[in-house]
Point group: C2
Chain length 255, copies 2
Amino acid sequence: MTVANTVTSRPCADSEKRLLSEVRVACSQCNVRELCLPVGLTQEELQQVDQLVTTRRTVRKGEPLFLNGDPFTSIYAIRTGVFKTRLTTLDGRDQVTGFQIAGELVGLDGLSSNRHACDAIALEDAEVCVIPYPRLAELALKIPGLQRHFHRLMSREIVREHGVMLLLANMRAEERIAAFLLNLVRRMQARGYSDREVVLRMTREEIGSYLGLKLETVSRTLSRMAEEGLISVKQRRVRIEDPERLRALVENSTR
Amino acid sequence: MTVANTVTSRPCADSEKRLLSEVRVACSQCNVRELCLPVGLTQEELQQVDQLVTTRRTVRKGEPLFLNGDPFTSIYAIRTGVFKTRLTTLDGRDQVTGFQIAGELVGLDGLSSNRHACDAIALEDAEVCVIPYPRLAELALKIPGLQRHFHRLMSREIVREHGVMLLLANMRAEERIAAFLLNLVRRMQARGYSDREVVLRMTREEIGSYLGLKLETVSRTLSRMAEEGLISVKQRRVRIEDPERLRALVENSTR
DNA sequence: CGACATTTTGAACCTGTTCAAAAACAGTGG
DNA sequence: CCACTGTTTTTGAACAGGTTCAAAATGTCG
């Protein structure tokens, strides 16, 4: 369902249909714009980019933004909230392929076959900007900086996944968890949050799926890291107590 | 080093400098064109695309096409040969992130930061088409079909990597090897090779790195699969004896 | 408050790793 | 062509990290 929202509003329950014009909130004024948009656009170009996002959409916790097999129409920029992307196989295994937070894009997988190749599920109530791909593609023809930016974002996703492959293939449980926490904190920090504390929006099971571990292993490892004074854990609230040693765990593993 | 070659020549030892015009071999006549190029281009567009590839480059077995940190200038389309892409960490672990064969692209990782984010190493003498990114980007502004095609290729890489994540996080050794072999055979078949037999261009260690296994495990697993009549292995030559059961192993794992 | 989901912790088990050594193979130069 | 060297592959046996199964504890939401 498509719900209209004003710039600053929190996801509102049921605003029915408003005029699109009301929905159109300038990207140029969005607080996560430097994460979605290229820099150095002219005034005119910025105006055109503003036209790109015609719709906002709220997604309730647990609900899908899109599902595997859905026709691909748009890419989504997350304004608020956290998503997971997930792959489910025929035989029922599933794999979390990423967690996306405000300022990040979801849906790039759909370009390859005109259908989405994974599920995107909101881990908490979320709001996304809908970027219709045809419009984006068209505008990219006119604004080379936008084209370049878009290419960069796709490439970044490829590079990120290389990193995950390294993690999955080479690291031990403790290293994986450390890498995961540090990565998450770094991204939160870039958005103005603390670099010492995160609230995990996902369950141990989801973390485990992403990291190729069972939920029990995630739990145990967190507990042990807490005992050793690397972090402290209060349910979903994790505090980085010793960033140095945590980093050393990942980079300088004495296997 | 950049070596000029005619269309049909095998990599030649030392042809010195030839005129670029001689190098320029029409993409429109390339035998792997349907893998690199979009379909449905007009005659004029095809001509423009032909201008895109100004240089060929041969890479000797074991030599890098590019290395992590190299300035990103071009994307490479493989004409002949096989490459691996590899990530090396500070602490000396390395991770094979993919194997690329004729008709596939390498170098998309470099777009993200203007430097290559991995190494690309030839596993046998190879020949690639050099596609200067600035030129590609420029041409994509003029030919929407090319833009779309390029986006699709990047997206495909993202989706492929999702699959690898699933494999690394969820599958057992036997399943990983089965998936790897089937994937390789499928790609070879699309290029006109047998769907029953492959010659592996990579070592057991490289396979292991890609699949998150030790080389001993790769070797043992291949041996066991051979004993069970799923495949037969003669050194690097693998023959698929029972595609059905092999496929069942991957898809319908009774864990 | 009660029902359900998530998290923690324990103990036995299993798959893949590690270490080691032999066998097979590939490339080099006489 | 063959001997020689170094690399790759195979195979064995002991080991270890993570999984599985189980049960209790904690938390969440209606």
